[in-house]
Symmetry: none
Subunit: 204 residues, 4 copies
């Protein structure tokens, strides 16, 4: 089964690349390092990926897809606005805590030039994620359980604080496991978003 072998080789390269990128940045990682750590040959790497940046991009896109999938899975089927919000926040914190390396990479790349340039394909993925997540919120907004706001602000208010917390942790500026912040952050987000008509304890 050639395909499987190829797929595995591809994974080895991506895994090796991630380690290198995290250790000393995309910029300062040489193909030689990836080659050695993945024990693939130069030619082989270029057969799988067209360039170093393509590796970096593939890693970013795949990592983001994974993140998106996990957050959306966590958000699925929630009965109340409050549990939905809590689920999103908890998922973000959990993913970061469970895969700090990948998360750090995604954070760094998220604002890097590299992505911005190749971004066409990735942009769609991001838009689709935003659409899907908003779709999950929509019913509760329509029902007045969540206040009406410009659409983009929902993400800022739900994910923003969690992301801030995670960045702080990833950069080593704060030791406490991000998951410990799930409760207070979820509660705070709920308080900032709940419809004025809801009771203090939410609707569940």
């Amino acid at each position: 089964m050639r395909r499987a072998a190829t797929e595995q080789r591809r994974r080895e390269i991506l895994d090796a690349a991630l380690k290198c990128f995290l250790t000393h940045g995309v910029r300062d990682t040489t193909l030689e390092e990836i080659r050695e750590l993945s024990s693939a040959s130069t030619g082989s790497i270029y057969h799988q990926f067209g360039s170093k940046d393509e590796i970096a991009f593939a890693l970013f896109v795949e990592g983001m897809r994974d993140y998106h999938d996990r957050v959306l899975a966590a958000a699925a089927g929630k009965r109340t606005a409050r549990t939905l919000i809590r689920a999103i926040i908890a998922a973000h914190l959990r993913i970061t805590a469970e895969e700090p390396e990948l998360s750090l990479y995604l954070t760094q790349m998220g604002t890097a030039d590299e992505v911005g340039e190749i971004a066409a394909e990735y942009r769609e993925a991001g838009d689709s994620f935003a659409r899907d997540l908003y779709a999950a919120l929509k019913p509760f907004i329509d029902a007045g359980e969540i206040v009406a706001l410009p659409q983009e602000l929902y993400f800022s208010l739900i994910i923003g604080p969690a992301a801030h917390r995670c960045r702080s942790w990833l950069r080593g500026r704060s030791a406490a496991d991000p998951r410990t912040a799930a409760e207070p952050l979820a509660e705070a987000a709920w308080r900032s978003l709940r419809g004025l008509g809801t009771t203090d304890r939410g609707s569940d």
Copy 2:
């Protein structure tokens, strides 16, 4: 006045470097470009700074100091928790909107490992900013106007949403001027942080 001349030369280099870094990133800026734009000689640049990265770092530190100063200035002398929170958020959004390029640079560098490695000096600045900002909140926390939370979460809840909004804008994913979000974000932050005994409209 030798000192002054030297200082000016240093500024010219930094200004030229910032322009280059903003235009096409630290990574893709060559010393040659900085040299040409600053009309300093190669040797002169290396006389003032030990390496290209050192220039990037100096610029980052200065930019951050500026950001810190402006946020702290905005936070100074506020009478109520609510206006304080609003001031911090508004300042963050305003700075980003006014200097998008510098802000993007700071955002990118903030998670890059260049900083992590040279960071000793910078870390102190960050800590000091956190201390000062917390000091501004403290009276209101003690007075019960702001809920008691682990210290680090205040920043996540106040700055996190604004930062998320700004990143989204900086990456071109959202067209609306970040300053338009000041009111809703401030209101949301206030709702998430206000002490339980406070009235809906805050204490002012």
Copy 3:
């Protein structure tokens, strides 16, 4: 035959480098010159050798090995102490006279610190040469044909004068072909080393 091709490329580089080094010293030879003369690419040179100094070192080690081999070959199978001593001295003078440029290079590098620093590998070669040469003398020392002295002094007394003569010639301070000194130097060395019981003319 990939190996052969690679080996040849390596040789071309070494040959070119030697020519350059002999012409204007290691110090003043640029990689550019070696590149041009060897018609190898920059990258190829760095693929074979890690640095310019490594080339210089390889050349030194090879040159020394050659010198060692030739001296030991000349010393092999000699029946008497006197002919052995003469053979060693004559070989040294001959090698220098035949390859003055390489000899000068070896002399210069021999005291340079480049060698001292990378020397591990080279040191063994030198030790092994000393061992082998001493082994050739040993029987005659044991037989009393050569006086008993601290081991290291044999080399000083046999090679020292020849080396001094050669250096003087190499530096252009003395015009006479070093080979003309073979007879008197050999005779002098023999007089200084012959056992007290031997006759004036030696044992042959």
Copy 4:
């Protein structure tokens, strides 16, 4: 007394330069290092010496002059050929043992390109040394106490072995203090040079 101050500054620079040159070669010593170690300013160094090579050259010439003077002083007034030869050899070994750093430098520079190029002035000094030393030997050669040989060979036979011994020691290839070789080397030289009519024990 300006002169004295200048002279001292000059010495400081030379001393610093010697240390640097010995530690990592003339080639890899930067003026910056000499500047720092001598705590003189760049301009000051250039005021005293026209270039880096000039410092290296001055060091070499002065060191050689010193060596010459000491050897000639040791050779002065000797009554017999044997004591004369012993004195020269002992002086060489003693100087090396007492000032290994300077000796190593002189040895290295003796064959280096640098000297060869600037050598005019130095050449005369060397010739004059050779003349003077030969003048000391001349009476004994004329008297038949020392065998008749081409002039240049006297130095090779007297100094060659001692120099070989010293080089070996300076390069760390032989631990024994060179001075311990004075007796056997002097004896050997005497045996290789003494006139055939002299008795075994020489003429003293």
